[in-house]
């Protein structure tokens, strides 16, 4: 969910003058579901509980069930982009290399990296850790714009830039302050003398509040000047991305962010799949949603648990087999995701704009 773009000539009409109305936004399922699950509202409540005093209780419940949560949320979400690529109408025709040639390229790189874990494996791991916060930011931006447009709130170029900056700020913080990836990784391999860790930490600290300031500012500006506000789902999506990448990371609880990001992704991709199937006049929504989700879980299990064992069977170490497979699946997910969500001149576009 990283590159949603809406054709500027087809933006929805602006509401007329009158008092600005704070709206949840036009939902796909139900306003509460869209706000809490896709908008990330649930994660904001969860973070508040975590920061307040429920951290030990939450950890006690989560830690023993982490393998199950990883299977039904995280791993299924990685597989979802691949399942979507092969089930999206016309994707195989439009994205020929991605759907037919890219899997073999990925497996070739995977095999070489498993054989050379200290070289290519470590480099690809640092690359995926660097890319991951950008992927989160891009998903937040795509969703924010999609709900905004879907709710009849067309954004000007400047407003889009503000939303993009608010989404990217947490990525920039991670990039400049992260240990073992991002700027630290690049400097370690190019010019270690230029690396000043305290300066990176200070710069990151200053950027921490940028998403909140930008989004609150944009919200207020639009309410005053245009008498129209961003839908709450859009606002919530951007703020929850900031909370995941900045606050959950700072309290050493980023693992929860990965779960919420996965649930958010699974929800929106399942909705698009179901709507495609319904447009084709096939079956009920529950059947398609369950079918799509089960395929994601099955593929996730195959990729994350069985493929590393296959490499292990062929004589590679288990550590490199497991970790390099995780790295490559992440990178494959980021790349596939960047293509399957392009809306312009795409079947996805009709789903977003339907009945606007």
């Amino acid at each position: 969910m990283s590159a949603i773009a809406v054709a500027p000539s087809q933006v929805a009409p602006e509401p007329g003058p009158g008092p600005a109305i704070v709206r949840v936004g036009r939902a796909f399922v139900h306003p509460a579901f869209d706000l809490l699950v896709i908008g990330g509202g649930l994660s904001l409540l969860f973070t508040a509980a975590l920061v307040w005093k429920f951290r030990p209780a939450i950890d006690n419940v989560f830690t023993p069930s982490i393998a199950w949560v990883a299977l039904v949320a995280n791993q299924a979400h990685f597989a979802a982009s691949t399942v979507r690529l092969y089930t999206k109408p016309g994707a195989r025709r439009e994205l020929r290399f991605l759907s037919l040639g890219f899997p073999l390229v990925t497996l070739a790189v995977l095999s070489y990296a498993v054989a050379r874990p200290e070289g290519l494996g470590a480099t690809l791991t640092a690359l995926y850790l660097t890319w991951s916060p950008y992927h989160y930011a891009a998903q937040a931006y795509g969703l924010a714009l999609m709900y905004s447009y879907r709710s009849g709130c067309a954004l000007s170029l400047r407003e889009k830039q503000v939303v993009r900056a608010a989404c990217l700020a947490p990525f920039v913080v991670q990039f400049i302050a992260g240990r073992g990836f991002g700027l630290a990784w690049i400097l370690a391999h190019t010019s270690p003398a230029l690396d000043v860790p305290w300066l990176r930490a200070q710069a990151a600290l200053w950027l921490t509040w940028v998403p909140v300031v930008l989004m609150v500012g944009l919200f207020a500006h639009m309410a005053i000047k245009r008498r129209v506000t961003l839908p709450l789902v859009s606002l919530c999506t951007v703020l929850s991305n900031a909370v995941w990448l900045l606050w959950l990371t700072s309290i050493d609880a980023f693992v929860y962010a990965t779960v919420f990001h996965s649930i958010q992704y699974l929800a929106i991709v399942t909705i698009f799949h179901v709507k495609n199937q319904q447009q084709a006049g096939r079956g009920g929504w529950a059947f398609h949603a369950a079918g799509f989700y089960l395929r994601c879980v099955a593929l996730g299990y195959l990729l994350f648990q069985l493929v590393p064992l296959g490499y292990f069977l062929f004589g590679f170490g288990l550590a490199e087999s497991v970790l390099v497979v995780i790295t490559i699946i992440n990178l494959h997910h980021f790349i596939v995701d960047a293509y399957i969500w392009r809306l312009r001149q795409d079947s996805n576009y009709k789903l977003v704009t339907a009945a606007v």
Binding site: L104, G121, A319
Partner: protein, 145 residues
């Protein structure tokens, strides 16, 4: 055009279809290999693979060199995992790789600034290294410091 057949421009090029078939076959065989391996060893499918499982198994079987190699690979790929670095440091120290153990504990301290346990272990390891250097100097009549 006969019904059910795609027109020429709509058909994927042969090399792409071969590449896709090859990828699916590779994925299938590696997954099948995984299933066969796990059923023949543990008689159940894993819910979550532990990347350090092999390293710990090798330690139990006495193959410390193999275990250390696995820890090296793991910490190269997950350089921020303090717990794994500690395990690796202990293993390196117990197998006589004092220099590697020192470097590993230094990495632990870089990540966990005030880790008193790591500081104490590092001090111990430096003493062992100095003792080793003194013994070697006395044996060969040269100074290594």
């Amino acid at each position: 055009m006969p019904a059910g057949r795609e027109s020429a421009p709509d058909r994927e090029p042969l090399f792409l279809r071969i590449a896709f078939g090859l990828a699916v076959a590779l994925l299938f065989w590696s997954a099948l290999g995984g299933i066969v391996y796990f059923f023949s060893v543990t008689r159940r499918l894993p819910l979550q693979l532990d990347p350090l499982f092999e390293a710990r198994m090798r330690v139990r079987k006495g193959d410390t060199a193999g275990a250390l190699r696995q820890y090296r690979v793991y910490t190269d790929l997950r350089p921020l995992d303090v717990a794994a670095l500690r395990e690796m440091g202990e293993l390196a120290a117990s197998t006589g790789h004092v220099g590697e153990a020192i470097r590993t504990y230094e990495r632990v301290l870089q990540l966990n600034g005030g880790d008193e346990r790591a500081e104490a272990r590092l001090l111990e390891l430096h003493k062992i290294q100095e003792r080793g250097a003194d013994e070697a100097a006395a044996r060969y009549g040269v100074s290594f410091r």
